[in-house]
């Protein structure tokens, strides 16, 4: 089986949220409320236990002509966010039950029949994707449409995307497509296009990369995501020192006192 990936090209996104709707319908994800946050037209807020695709709405300065904007109104940047399916996934490493597994397509999948809702994956995801669903107790996130992929189908979001902003395919092929697209846009005069694919950090690359205009930070994409297992060495070293010091201290106190 080949390793698959998402390429979300926000320069093609029209903010229609078909991906959110398709994801919910296909995966039968519960409603996540219709909360107008008064921040933008975004009413889903962020990825979570019941939001596996999330369209971010970013206002930019007026760019006449771009995306059909009139010169006097600001332009919108839309980007459909999704679980990054990290090559080194914090959630997968942290899961104590083995509920979170790597699928044959390279995706990170939570087996709902194994998860016991310990919540450790929630604090170990450097992208803030996994969340425990309160009314259920277990952790949920994008499954990368594992069921569809097994049947040779594209994930629901990619299938429903009307502008092909969400592309799905073999990972290296898609990386080439992404680089080509960035070059293409640069040739067309867009000098602020970035490919978000943090391969040089401990997450070792992601299986869902993004093309965004401007700084990826605007879209809450962290510049240097780290898989929390990188902190283990320091932590256990400290734990060892603390344990040794406790024993040594107790030993000295007991042997050094006539009154034990």
């Amino acid at each position: 089986m080949s390793v698959t990936a998402f390429l979300t090209d926000s320069t093609l996104c029209i903010g229609c949220k078909a991906c959110e709707v398709a994801c919910k319908e296909w995966n039968q994800v519960p409603a996540d409320g219709f909360d107008f946050r008064a921040l933008s037209y975004d009413n889903t807020g962020s990825l979570g236990h019941s939001t596996w695709r999330h369209v971010k709405f970013v206002e930019n300065g007026a760019v006449p002509g771009f995306g059909g904007n009139a010169s006097e109104v600001f332009s919108w940047g839309f980007s459909s966010d999704v679980c990054k399916h990290c090559a080194n996934a914090g959630c997968l490493e942290a899961c104590p039950t083995g509920a979170i597994v790597r699928t044959e397509f390279g995706g990170v999948y939570i087996q709902p029949d194994v998860c016991n809702g310990c919540g450790y994956c929630v604090v170990c995801c450097p992208f803030g994707v996994v969340e425990r669903r309160p009314e259920d107790g277990r952790a949920f996130k994008c499954t990368f449409c594992y069921d569809r992929q097994k049947e040779g189908l594209e994930p629901a979001c990619a299938t429903a995307c009307p502008t092909e902003s969400i592309k799905f395919g073999e990972i290296e092929h898609l990386r080439d497509t992404a680089r080509e697209r960035v070059r293409d846009l640069e040739e067309k005069g867009f000098d602020d296009v970035n490919l978000y694919d943090p391969t040089d950090t401990s997450v070792g690359g992601i299986h869902a990369f993004f093309i965004v205009r401007g700084d990826p930070k605007t879209y809450n994409l962290p510049p240097k995501p780290e898989v929390p297992t990188t902190y283990l060495k320091k932590g256990w070293m400290s734990a060892g020192i603390a344990a040794a010091a406790m024993v040594a201290g107790a030993f000295l106190a007991f042997t050094g006192s006539s009154d034990r």
Binding site: A18, V123, C125, I241, M246, G249
Partner: protein
Amino acid sequence: MSISPERETRELRLQQIRREAELRATSISKLPSDSHMDARPSNGHGALQDFEPAASASPQTGYYGMPLLKTPAWTWEVPIYFFVGGAAGASAMLASVGKLTGADQRMIRDARWVAAIGAALSPPLLIADLGFPKRFLNMLRVFKVQSPMSVGSWTLVSFSSAAAASAVLSELERRRVLPRIPVLTDVAEIGAALTGLVLATYTGVLVGATAIPVWNAKVSLIPIHFATSGLSTAVSVLELRGHASSALNKIGIGATVVETAIGASLEFGKEPATEPLHHGPTGWTMRVAGLLSGPVPLALRLLSLTSPPRSPRSVKLRKAAAISSIAGSLITRWAWVYAGRASSKDPKVPLQLPGPARPDAEQIPQDK
């Protein structure tokens, strides 16, 4: 691969969603531009937000100041488990070292029971915190050395068994119900001490090796902090049980000296990630915890040295120190969990944003 008719229908539904989106997109783009409303009202709906929203999405604020990370799902059971487990683990170690060095038998017996009671209380606390408690045994499906949660689950199971066995077997021997079986009791005793040491320290690794900035920034410190806190509590519980040996006071003094140093390093070592330790309610919680675990019991313990050992005044002062330490230790665990919650809501550190931790609207530059 062929798919079932039911799947076929669902597949067609996805196509329908796509067409609907296309149609709506074309109709909206024909609207006159003045129908766009200003999407930047001055106030947010407070009830929906537990973060400080920013007026815009930008490289300076992130995505409207919204949290990047998820807030820890852990509830009150977890800090209490950290406290109980830490004290129990340290107590098992005290029983073992005490036995090895010929300490007071009654003190050793009480230390074993403190460990056993803590060992009995810990699993229910952890299970209660699970989202799906019925599946707690799934923790023992696999052993993953790279997951502190997995290591901790196995440690707790081993510790609980060993500490209970150690306490019960020694008691049966003492009451001469059972003949002394050195292999069993010694293995249980040493097992409880070794797993107890892991239990008292791993919780620090558990919170440290996460994506939460304030926790992973202090991953080297938290295991030491938790271990010291556990040791302090174990000694304090034994003192409140009436044990007044000067050896216990020495351990207490050592632990409170370390606690004082840790408190000072947390107070004076400032970095962006540790902001919740300095500001707001989380900062004050940590400070109160630090005072109650460090300088206050240390001063009381040193003062007790001015009276003859086991004199009423000395015992009284040490009991006061013990109460302060136990309260401090409990608040310490709570303060760390609380700080982690605050830290998770602040996108500044994971996004490497400049400026104040909670971006406020005045400081956000206008769109270019």
